[in-house]
Symmetry: C2
Subunit: 414 residues, 2 copies
């Protein structure tokens, strides 16, 4: 009987992850976009794995999500959901998303082998549209479950002009069945997702596992600095209204503000300099700011501080500045019950708990609107993800599944 | 008899400048590239103006330079050269270059009307290849006079694939006659060029005229900062190796170093950020530095300070940096005799002298290798040039020509 053996969990998980690696739409690297042929094959493989693990029922829903259910002591009880996704970015790694699905399969397999039924059902959800690479949708497969599906995205098209609606029908899905996917709140008692961290914190601190406190909210701004172009030789430094020098001062100030915010980050990912000639003082610079924090009040202050500082620097340097907001999304806090349950499972194994926010978005963000939500992060080497160099150890995977199993066994929703 | 009447000089100069405005290769704006049909027409017009002013001989040389000579008391004496250029950038203003040619014409006209012959001849040179827009040449028409013509540029082509050699023949020039254009040092006693400042210093200080101390040397470097790309949400600020934050710190340091150098300037005109996504920490930033100073020792220290600071910032932020030099040109100091002569002419009119470097290149830079060189700057509105908004007053032009005439009359080469 297999009860809770991290080593065996790790080996089985890695075998299943390796099996999924085979399903790619690209011959040379891993690429499994939503509703592609490789996605369909991977979904079918996950169906088989769920059956093999002992799920009582397995199906692929109207949006392509693979759903496996392991019943409670009494049939028809509400379910604890364990989910993540099996779609990938282009030229992807093997663990981002797939780990959480395989972990759910490992948990049910262990319960099934032990002949153990809980007071609640356990369901695994293998979502298909988390990376948002192919269509202009956003976490559509988890949104459908949470009842927040945006039907306008059905008309969105991929780069070949194929609509999400047509691709869904081609895949074997059913646009008319989406509404019925929404779960009733009384049918679910929680959603838990295991995911590689996609950041360097756990790896740097040499910890295998972290407990997510919240998925950070994000605010994005486009900044346009308009000074005065001029000849690089003839305009003395004191008489310049240099847009790039201004933008550089703003950039460093934003770095400082971001570093001072509690668990906050601020990133300038794009910057364009005009006219962009070696011997011309830049007349205009455009750049973006992406600011995130796990608490909305922190993010709001972060953004307000950044905007005020940008305006002050522009005023002081006598240049014009325009600030254009183009994205604001609130934070999704994790459930205290789930955080405490995960912490108890870690402490029972003499592991120190490490709480950290998720700076990246996940299906859990959407599921938090339906039910208590929580996430476990597993360290990945150097924090690298969305890259074939994405890497984690079998040992960490096994330990994480063991802790997830302990958590599930003792979970009591508040 | 017209001796030295600034008002009349201004009116005549502006009439001639306006006449030259008519010769454009573009129907909607002023565009007169080297050896174009408009250049030919403008050159012919300048020939006529030189004859009208009283030049004893006028010709268009093998490279298209219009040369007008007003003999000394004795024929065949060495000449003081007054020059500038009649080619323009695309969508140009009316004064950049043309002012200096028209000023020379005004000076000879005044001498001729007064029946006055000097101990030296006076020649006007209307160069045709100063802006270096059409061909990959560099001040070729003045280089030929100074004996530094680069014959490899004859094979350079414009954007239509026409070589400089073929365009020159088409224009009526003679590639085989270039070598003979080089003047002997004993035949020239100086070169003086009047030019709009193309910078804001005189306009800001409300002065009509400045005396150029030197044409600044320039050094250019390409900087490549390589940090680590990463997810804008998942990498805490303290664990980042952000190429753009590093480049911003370098940029501000360069601004400070440039401002501290005596008459120095430092410009970052180009910056590219990679990968350039709103939610990705920049992994690489490439930018250019253009540093200039009128004294080579100042420029060399300026560049050395910039390079050392760039390396120190990279080391402190634990990112890689590469510094690629791609241009270094020394300063061309103005002749003390010419600066003193211009100062005396200004002081005689109770004008305060203002010395300033030229941050932009001019034909005078090349001519300085042949003979004592000097330049007068005339204020232009807001320092704007290379633009149809380029503007100066008739009054300033008249005053500048009067001073140039005073200078020429009393010039004694050292």
């Amino acid at each position: 009987m297999m009860t809770n053996d991290p080593k065996r969990f790790g080996a089985q998980a890695f075998a299943r992850l390796k099996a999924l690696d085979a399903f790619s739409d690209h011959p040379d690297h891993l690429e499994r976009l939503y509703l592609s042929p490789a996605h369909r094959k991977a979904a079918d493989a996950v169906v088989a794995m769920m059956h093999e693990a002992g799920c009582d029922s397995v199906s692929i829903d109207a949006l392509g999500t693979v759903v496996g259910r392991y019943e409670a002591k009494e049939a028809g009880r509400p379910a604890l959901l364990i989910g993540s996704h099996i779609d990938t970015v282009k030229d992807a790694g093997s663990y981002d998303g797939m780990l959480g699905v395989i972990a759910g399969i490992g948990v049910i397999e262990a319960l099934h082998e032990a002949g153990e039924r809980l007071d609640f059902a356990v369901e695994i959800l293998a979502f298909g549209d988390e990376e948002n690479v192919r269509f202009p949708s956003n976490l559509s497969s988890s949104r459908a479950i949470a009842g927040s599906f945006d039907f306008s995205t059905l008309d969105g098209r991929d780069e070949n002009g194929i609509s999400l609606r047509d691709a869904l029908i081609q895949f074997g899905g059913d646009p008319d069945g989406i509404t019925a996917l929404a779960r009733k709140k009384e049918d679910v008692i929680g959603y838990v997702e295991m995911h590689i961290e996609q950041g360097p914190v756990l790896d740097q601190e040499n910890r295998p596992i972290g407990i997510v406190t919240a998925i950070s909210g994000a605010s994005r701004r486009r900044i346009i600095v308009t000074g005065e172009a001029g000849h690089a030789g003839t305009v003395p430094m004191a008489l310049r209204k240099d847009s790039l020098m201004t933008a550089a001062e703003m950039t460093l100030a934003i770095e400082k503000i971001g570093a001072a915010a509690e668990n906050g980050v601020a990133t300038i990912g794009q910057m364009q300099v005009e006219p962009g000639a070696v011997n011309v003082i830049p007349g205009r610079v455009r750049f973006t700011v992406d600011a995130r924090a796990p608490r909305d009040s922190v993010r709001e202050k972060l953004v307000a501080d950044i905007e005020a500082t940008i305006r002050a620097i522009a005023t002081q340097r006598k240049v014009q500045v325009e600030i254009q907001p183009f994205y604001d999304s609130p934070a999704a806090p994790a459930s205290t019950a789930i955080m405490q349950g995960l912490a108890a499972a870690m402490e029972a194994r003499q592991m120190e708990t490490r709480y950290l926010p998720s700076g990246a978005g996940h299906d859990a963000m959407v599921m938090g609107a339906l039910c208590p939500m929580g996430m476990m992060f597993v360290r990945c080497k150097d924090g690298i993800s969305h890259n074939p160099a994405e890497s984690m150890t079998e040992e960490d995977a096994g330990l994480a599944i063991a802790i997830l199993l302990d958590f599930v066994r003792s979970y009591r929703p508040t």
